[in-house]
């Protein structure tokens, strides 16, 4: 898988812990909180390993004591000793352990949420896709959808809101999730560190096609990111014929900058061919999948607002597919 590499960044600090080794190879992935590619996810992964070891020790101690107690056939302990066990095992030790853990865990909080952002991106959750809007160097909005690109090594501020129901914005490789709630704007600051491609998902159940609400996250070299953003700001560059796309009303919902298509109901398609996936993480962006999505949107993504265009003449579908596939 692109973007992943063996081992985890946070792990060496707690390397050699019992039981952890067997999960080692299994934790890498484009969507794993245990294979962090950003500062926030890294800190949480470390927190997890520390807690896991602590939990394992406590579990063995408590269950060991309980099993021993239920099998113990020797002289019963005195009431005094029993009450001392309740006091220490049930109250004092847990209080101390939890206080220490709370201090450690909550210390991570301000660090996780603060930071001077180098970049601001507005992401709006919609059933069932992601409206992504970058703020360009000149302050103008650069519209995109279902794909988030970020420069490595820089803080990025993501402003989250929703257009319809509650969604939740989650890129496990980079950070924890934050909800997108109608009428509110939530601010999430990310510190992506490792270059690569990751996967984000909607984590709050949002309706019929909640399962199909994912997006691609690409962490890039800062220079490459700047170049990419500049290209995104420009209108679509295509040699293909836009006729079928416009004639069948696609522009009523979608925008392709530089053409009469200026709809805002669905995702901006200006640079669609640059994106890795189609239909909010549903399919890889290939011509066959593109054609299928246009023809069968209602079937492959039930409840989405995109109608199926399977009734169009095949040549129109071909033309639309070819046009969209050329939008770079």
């Amino acid at each position: 898988m692109r973007g992943s590499r063996p081992g985890f960044r946070a792990f060496p600090r707690t390397a050699g812990l019992a039981g952890a080794g067997m999960m080692l190879g299994a934790c890498s992935g484009t969507q794993s909180a245990l294979d962090p590619a950003g500062r926030e996810a890294g800190e949480v992964a470390t927190l997890f390993w520390v807690m896991l070891v602590g939990a394992a020790v406590i579990w063995l101690a408590v269950i060991g004591t309980a099993v021993f107690a239920s099998r113990w056939q020797g002289r019963p302990v005195s009431e005094r000793a029993g009450l001392r066990l309740v006091l220490w095992g049930g109250a004092i030790v847990p209080t101390l352990v939890l206080a220490a853990l709370l201090a450690y865990g909550l210390r991570l909080m301000p660090a996780l949420r603060a930071g001077e952002p180098a970049l601001t991106v507005e992401v709006t959750g919609e059933q069932y896709w992601w409206r992504v809007s970058y703020r360009g160097p000149d302050g103008a909005a650069i519209e995109s959808g279902n794909e988030l690109r970020l420069p490595a090594g820089h803080a990025a501020e993501i402003l989250l809101t929703s257009a319809d129901v509650i969604h939740s914005f989650w890129i496990p490789s980079l950070a924890g999730k934050l909800d997108m709630i109608p009428g509110r704007t939530n601010r999430l600051v990310l510190h992506p560190e490792r270059i690569g491609t990751y996967r984000g998902v909607c984590a709050e159940f949002c309706g019929r096609s909640h399962t199909f609400m994912a997006f691609t996250v690409i962490v890039m070299e800062p220079a490459a990111f700047e170049a990419w953003l500049a290209r995104q700001a420009a209108p679509a560059a295509t040699a293909a014929d836009e006729g079928a796309f416009l004639a069948n009303g696609c522009g009523g919902c979608h925008s392709v900058r530089g053409t009469p298509a200026t709809g805002t109901i669905g995702p901006d398609l200006t640079h669609l061919a640059d994106r890795a996936m189609l239909g909010a993480g549903l399919f890889a962006n290939t011509p066959e999948n593109l054609r299928r999505f246009v023809a069968e949107a209602e079937e492959v993504k039930p409840g989405s607002r995109m109608p199926s265009f399977g009734m169009l003449p095949p040549q129109d579908l071909d033309a639309i597919t070819a046009y969209l596939g050329s939008l770079r």
Partner: protein
């Protein structure tokens, strides 16, 4: 034994047998005795558990492999919503009430709970509501937006069909029944203990019933209030959760989780209560640290109300709130730890007999402690931001619920089976069942922790391949079916014929429920002993034989009435011989009619709903008129042991007064939840009431509120007049109070009407309307009660000494007056100050 004694004993047993006889044939369904109703209740809850379990197996089959299309997204959403809903509302909470109805009276050496017909009513409500909610899936009409029903998705009537209404109305109906059962159980624990069983001598189970009953009283009403707001939005488009019109979807989350988190402990504590009975029995010694465990349970109950926002760590709460709720969530581990270590210490201090209930108890501990530890993890907000709504949380919650609720419950099934049926379950099948369930559970849910941290979100009906989830999901599915096999073994063991007969008190337990000998004897306990120990069967010599010989209280039923002892709340001194009503179809009829009203509302059949509701209220009136507050043929009766006790008590000495008080505390909590909503909107809006919007007519509202308060004042006068035995004055004041209350209610409703407040335009008028309607309905119910008392007075059932009804109605009016005064203060006065 002399011949006289034998003769007396035979006569008493014949009396008791006749009075407590279980009817046969179709009249069996009229049964209102706790032993039978408790069994129906338990069995029904267990059937719902099996049903919800099958739904889970379908889901696990769907998720066994990636990109599976066994079920569609729409079906899957119904499956997971119904699985959670049924497990929570139709199994976990009701089974607590069911088991408590079944065993609590015997544990207290009572013949029945104080309101047997209320138990039966609760059962019928539960059955009707449960079948309605669960059966919806066969019509592709089940709720499909999650058991948490978050708006704006679940309030959107175009995206969520009738399923959401079925959820809201069906469950509200069941919640009312749950609260009824809680009232019954609380009063049972407080007033129906045997003489001498002071409150610090109760079996631990009773403490837990008391605590959990109290928690239900404060936890369910916020959800009912939330349901009302929710249904008003769905039915009439009142914008409580619509951000565009001033509402806020987050308010629902607060109301839902203020219910939802205590709910977890409402489920967990009763199962711990079963362990608190099982562990001392098998350690063959009293619990070590009785005071510790009671305090810890109370502490858990309290803390559980301060944790709700940890379900909302990802909504973007301020850091300070997150810190507070993180700390509170961690803190609840401490009283839980104390309870666990009390069990461990008790085992260490005793000589343990290891048996099937202990096997399940140990397994429960192993699973629950693991779930508790992952709970400590997710209580830390930074970790929760990753784990929330992922499969990690699915694993966590099943570890806590299966370990903290299900396994202890099955330990209880093995432990109490001989008490309920007189037969032993098989130890061999028990071991099979345990190991299949224990292994299957861990195979299913342990991998989910990793699945979740590898990024798999919850509530997806399928998943793409090659994200590191494929094998883990397959293993989980295998585990789920293994666990299901264990459940099948358990069910077979319970249902199979030809089980071994149990000896009396087979585990040599120390508490009174084990006095029960032959379960075919319907009387519960032969005579009610004075209690001097927490474990009377261990410490009180010759107790069982003396009970059987009828040497204690209520040894017979010479007047042919069902009787049980009522004692003082703290010291359990005998106060009254309570005549409890016998079997009747009236509770069933009332439940069918009230249920019909809820069901008709779901389908928007307004006329049918109103008709069914009115008939239901009439049925309840008939039931009350014919079955409660009967004037006995003589003031006192011989209670046995040389003690003569009154047959009639009113005011705070009566069980009915306590029931009214407890019910109204719950009712008041629901009202406060609506007031909370008002002030919640006030905090999120720069101006609330919004500047420039019409406000309710102050003059009308103040007059209306004053009329309601005057009605309350007349009720106080009516009570005084009744005490002075002046029936004419009683009738006059009651009639006057009813007129004033009607006028007050009408004026309160007229106030926003006159000012033209349109509830669909903005959340402010909607909130005003809902509070006003709530108050007006309470005044109307108050009028009904005033009319009932008036009728009672005219019929000669309400006299200076026989005044239960009036005393209870006055108590109701205290609360109604408080409601009216609060409405007045919040709607008319607060805007002036803000």
């Amino acid at each position: 034994m002399s011949e006289d004694d034998t003769e007396r004993r035979r006569r008493q047993e014949a009396e008791l047998r006749r009075v407590w006889e279980i009817p046969r044939g179709w009249r069996y369904l009229s049964n209102c005795n706790n032993q039978v109703v408790g069994l129906w209740y338990t069995g029904t809850a267990f059937v719902f558990f099996l049903f919800a379990g099958v739904l889970a197996l379908i889901m696990r089959t769907q998720l066994a492999v990636p990109d599976n299309d066994l079920v569609s997204a729409g079906t899957y959403n119904q499956l997971y919503t119904l699985h959670g809903t049924m497990m929570m509302f139709l199994f976990a909470v009701p089974i607590f009430e069911a088991v408590a109805i079944l065993i609590l009276p015997q544990m207290l050496a009572a013949r029945d709970l104080p309101f047997p017909r209320l138990s039966a009513f609760g059962f019928w409500c539960f059955l009707i509501g449960g079948v309605f909610v669960g059966g919806s899936i066969f019509f592709d009409a089940a709720p499909d937006s999650g058991w948490f029903m978050y708006p704006p998705l679940a309030t959107d009537t175009t995206q969520t069909g009738i399923g959401a209404d079925i959820w809201l109305l069906g469950l509200s109906f069941i919640e009312v029944a749950s609260i009824a059962a809680a009232v019954e159980l609380i009063v049972g624990v407080l007033k129906c203990r045997p003489p001498g069983m002071r409150i610090h001598m109760m079996p631990l189970y009773c403490w837990y019933v008391l605590i959990v009953g109290g928690m239900i009283l404060f936890a369910f009403p916020p959800l009912i209030a939330g349901d009302i707001l929710f249904e008003m939005q769905r039915l009439f488009d009142w914008p409580f959760f619509d951000a565009a019109r001033g509402g806020d979807p987050v308010l629902w989350q607060h109301l839902f989780w203020i219910f939802g988190h205590p709910e977890v402990y409402i489920i967990f504590l009763p199962s711990i209560a079963l362990l608190a009975m099982i562990v001392p029995t098998f350690a063959q010694r009293p619990i070590l640290g009785y005071g510790w465990i009671v305090l810890a349970a109370v502490g858990t109950g309290f803390l559980s109300f301060g944790l709700w926002a940890h379900h909302m760590f990802t909504i973007g709460l301020p850091s300070l709130s997150i810190g507070f709720f993180s700390a509170a969530s961690e803190a609840v581990a401490i009283p839980t730890g104390v309870q666990i270590f009390v069990f461990v210490a008790t085992l260490l201090a005793g000589r343990v007999i290891f048996s099937i209930p202990m096997l399940f108890a140990t397994g429960a501990l192993a699973i629950f402690v693991f779930g508790g530890l992952t709970g400590v993890m997710v209580a830390l907000a930074p970790f929760d931001w990753q784990a929330h709504d992922s499969y990690f949380v699915v694993a966590h919650l099943h570890y806590t619920l299966i370990g903290g609720m299900f396994f202890p419950l099955i330990a209880g099934v093995y432990y109490f089976h001989p008490f309920v049926t007189g037969k032993m379950l098989s130890a061999r099948l028990g071991r099979w069942s345990f190991w299949l369930m224990f292994a299957g559970f861990n195979i299913a849910f342990l991998p989910m922790h990793i699945t979740g941290l590898r990024g798999m979100p919850r509530r997806v009906f399928t998943y793409p391949a090659d994200h590191g989830w494929d094998e883990l999901n397959l293993v989980s599915t295998f585990g789920a079916f293994t666990m299901a096999a264990g459940v099948v073994v358990l069910v077979w063991d319970v249902l199979r014929p030809g089980k071994e007969r149990a000896p009396r008190n087979p585990w040599n337990a120390g508490t009174l429920e084990w006095v029960a000998g032959d379960p075919s004897e319907p009387w519960g306990i032969r005579s009610v002993p004075p209690v001097t120990s927490r474990y009377p069967l261990w410490d009180q010599k010759n107790l069982m034989a003396d009970i059987d010989a009828g040497r204690f209280f209520l040894p017979g039923a010479p007047e042919g009435k069902r009787e049980t002892l009522v004692t003082g709340v703290l010291d359990a001194e005998p106060q009254q011989v309570l005549r409890v009503p016998g079997n009747s179809f009236k509770p069933m009829v009332a439940a069918v009619l009230i249920g019909g009203s809820f069901i008709a509302t779901t389908f928007h059949w307004w006329v049918a709903a109103a008709l069914s509701g009115a008939l239901g209220i009439a049925a309840i009136m008939v039931w009350l008129w014919t079955g409660t507050a009967r004037i006995p043929e003589k003031p006192e009766t011989d209670a046995g042991m040389g003690v003569t006790l009154p047959l009639y008590a009113s005011g705070s000495a009566s069980v009915g007064w306590w029931a009214m008080f407890i019910t109204m505390v719950g009712d008041g909590t629901a009202f406060l939840s609506l007031i909370f909503a008002y002030f919640y909107y006030w905090t999120i809006h720069p101006a609330f009431p919004p500047a420039g919007d019409p406000a309710p007519d102050t003059a009308l509202m103040v007059t209306g509120g004053m009329a309601a308060l005057a009605s309350w004042g007349l009720m106080l006068l009516a009570r005084r007049a009744n005490g002075a035995d002046r029936p004419q004055q009683v009738r006059a004041t009651l009639a006057g109070a009813a007129v004033l209350a009607l006028a007050g209610g009408a004026l309160l409703v007229l106030s926003p009407w006159q000012a033209g407040l349109a509830p669909t335009t903005h959340v402010y008028p909607a909130t005003v309307w809902v509070i006003v309607i709530w108050t007006a309905v309470h005044l109307a119910v108050g009028v009904l009660m005033q009319g009932y008392c008036l009728a009672g007075s005219l019929a000669g059932r309400l006299t200076a000494t026989h005044d239960i009804d009036l005393r209870n109605v006055v108590l109701y009016w205290h609360f109604a007056a408080l409601t009216a005064a609060t409405t007045l203060a919040v709607l008319a006065l607060a805007p002036l100050a803000m």
